[in-house]
């Protein structure tokens, strides 16, 4: 396999978009292309990650549309729909294209415009990723799956609501340093958990998860430019190598798993990524996890091998996962703070790692970061893509 590098990254501010779906898709792509400064180096192919444009925005064939809007013909064009893991899946497809020698330069854009519909419709659209006969038909939504998962994890490992609140507070704090984050509002333990008013401020969504345990519904796009070694050398600059990618799947219906608290796909995908990279968890300086719900950050931090099972909440409690801690997690704000435009999230995680490894992350820069890890969690853990990025001199 040929080595693959990230040579450009860009995103737009997540939140509620005032521009069209097409414009949103173009925006981050153009920023990433400008960042890569490709000059006369052509883009061979475009991969667009998205989950709901056909349903929510009434738009299909979006990769072809992006090629057209950016005048990138005759570049190849594919769209990837893989639920919430669409972003990292699209990234993987582009990496494969370069690694195989079929392409030299690829644009990967993740985009979602979920706020085009109301909250109920948006929740239903995301719930359509659940098992149609075993889950969706009974009204199961992602918050409800996460609520049941959280209850099991709390009962089994001693995680308390205060730990969930700590994740939310940390990631809101981190998002305050990220100008691209959807949520830029600090929150406190008193305000969301201990004050008498917390019951109103932070109402239950799916017990034991409350409002501030859930990511916001966001519009947004994020893009990276990938290049072969030869192309990357021509472009110069700090090179971020795609050191490893791993993917794994699990049962569609969560209740069919032997142990529903075991995020097996996260565990296997992460291990594959580390094996491919020839690195281990102890080499990692900065981590982006898929905290669509606060409980997932804790559980993924264990399943990805950064902490022993049942110990993730203790590391959180010790401040190890904060910016400045031993292993900063979601310094971008994560899905909780940066927001979660589903198809864009996996790419946004890689944009953040790229900025971190290049030293371009501003106030939230992790000092001397040279290895980054991202986990893009699809379905309810039934399709997971993990990536390891490494800065090269």
């Amino acid at each position: 396999m040929r080595p693959v590098y990230i040579v450009g990254a860009g995103m737009c501010k997540f939140g509620r978009s005032e521009i069209s779906f097409s414009e949103l898709m173009c925006l981050s792509s153009m920023v990433a292309l400008e960042d890569a400064n490709l000059g006369d180096v052509p883009v061979d192919g475009v991969v667009v990650a998205n989950m709901g444009a056909a349903r929510v925005n009434r738009q299909t064939a979006i990769a072809s549309a992006l090629v057209d809007q950016l005048c990138l013909y005759p570049a190849t064009a594919e769209a990837v729909e893989n639920g919430p893991a669409s972003g990292a899946s699209a990234f993987k497809v582009a990496v494969q294209a370069i690694a195989s020698g079929m392409s030299d330069v690829m644009l990967v854009t993740g985009v979602e415009m979920m706020r085009a519909v109301n909250g109920l419709e948006g929740t239903d659209f995301v719930a359509s990723l659940a098992h149609p006969e075993a889950e969706y038909i009974y009204g199961v939504t992602l918050p409800s799956l996460a609520g049941m998962f959280a209850r099991l994890v709390m009962d089994r490992f001693g995680v308390e609501r205060k730990h969930l609140a700590m994740v939310a507070i940390k990631n809101h704090d981190h998002a305050m340093m990220n100008p691209y984050a959807h949520i830029q509002q600090p929150i406190t333990m008193e305000g969301i958990l201990t004050a008498p008013e917390a019951v109103v401020n932070n109402p239950p969504i799916a017990d034991p998860l409350h409002l501030f345990d859930c990511c916001p519904v966001s519009d947004g796009s994020a893009s990276v430019i990938l290049a072969s070694q030869e192309a990357a050398e021509r472009l110069g600059g700090v090179r971020v190598r795609v050191a490893g990618i791993g993917q794994a799947t699990d049962t569609h219906a969560v209740h069919e798993r032997e142990d529903p608290t075991d995020l097996k796909a996260v565990r296997i995908a992460s291990q594959k990524a580390f094996t491919m990279a020839g690195l281990s968890q102890s080499d990692v300086d900065v981590v982006e996890l898929h905290d669509a719900f606060t409980i997932l950050e804790i559980a993924e931090s264990e399943a990805a091998g950064f902490f022993e099972r049942g110990k993730g909440h203790l590391a959180l409690e010790q401040g190890e996962t904060r910016l400045g801690g031993r292993l900063p997690i979601n310094v971008s704000g994560g899905l909780k703070g940066r927001g979660h435009p589903v198809g864009a999230t996996g790419v946004a995680q890689l944009v953040e790692l790229t900025w971190q490894l290049r030293g371009d992350a501003g106030d939230r820069q992790v000092e001397d970061a040279s290895v980054g890890f991202a986990c893009n969690f699809g379905g309810f853990g039934n399709n997971v893509v993990a990536s390891v990025l490494r800065r090269e001199a």
Partner: protein
């Protein structure tokens, strides 16, 4: 002057005695403390100044709510609406939101508008709850007539409480028929939706004695959600 006074008396609606709203303080999700208090007529110009830049903000129906609220506040200031009141939420003295309504008669209230300036902290939800608390608990009314002009309002009032339909009554704001919050509905919702502590400390009350405006740019930016970053 006497002649003008007589004419003015004819133009002003007769007023009922209204017990004032006792101020309270609410700890928000951010940990900040919001004082909720009633305003006097001479404070209306400050609120108009805050609302003015929102008159053309279409997002979440701020334009129609601003335009109507602007008129209602003017009518309150100049005695052209019967038994109106206005409550504000102030964080460190800075305006975070406002609500208003009026008494139809001794037993029935009418909710007018809820406007949030500082978004993302359920300020609107807290202030609407304070308005319902005023009608039911402090003014001793049996029910409050309510409509929503935005999907957010519909979700917050009609669904969250939940309100009952009172379609045979036309709300003064026009448009759709009225919904109603009864005393029973209020009491059932109170543990979930109504919060705040009394008495408010002298220090906090002093800090909330005059209304500080966040500034036009900040108001529009907060309302439209455009906080930081590029788009």
């Amino acid at each position: 002057m006497a002649h003008i006074g007589e004419l003015e008396a004819l133009l002003r609606p007769p007023a009922m005695d209204m017990q004032p709203y006792p101020p309270k303080v609410i700890t928000l999700a951010s940990g900040e403390e919001m004082v909720v208090r009633q305003i006097a007529r001479d404070e209306v110009p400050k609120l108009l100044e805050a609302i003015y830049p929102l008159l053309l903000v279409e997002r979440d129906y701020y334009d129609i709510v601003s335009a109507r609220l602007f008129g209602e506040l003017l009518a309150f200031k100049r005695y052209r609406v019967k038994d109106e009141y206005v409550l504000v939420g102030l964080i460190d003295g800075v305006l975070a939101g406002m609500v208003n309504g009026r008494l139809v008669d001794e037993k029935v209230g009418m909710s007018y508008h809820t406007m949030t300036i500082r978004r993302g902290l359920r300020v609107g939800s807290h202030l609407f709850a304070a308005k319902m608390e005023y009608h039911i608990e402090h003014l001793g009314q049996d029910e409050v007539l309510i409509v929503a002009e935005s999907p957010i309002g519909f979700r917050r009032w009609m669904i969250e409480y939940p309100l009952d339909k009172r379609y045979e009554v036309q709300h003064e704001l026009g448009g759709v028929p009225s919904w109603v919050l009864t005393r029973d509905t209020y009491m059932a919702a109170k543990p979930r939706l109504v919060s705040g502590r009394r008495p408010v400390s002298d220090e906090l009350l002093a800090g909330a004695a005059s209304i500080v405006l966040p500034g036009e740019e900040i108001v529009v930016r907060q309302v439209t959600g455009k906080k930081g970053g590029e788009q």
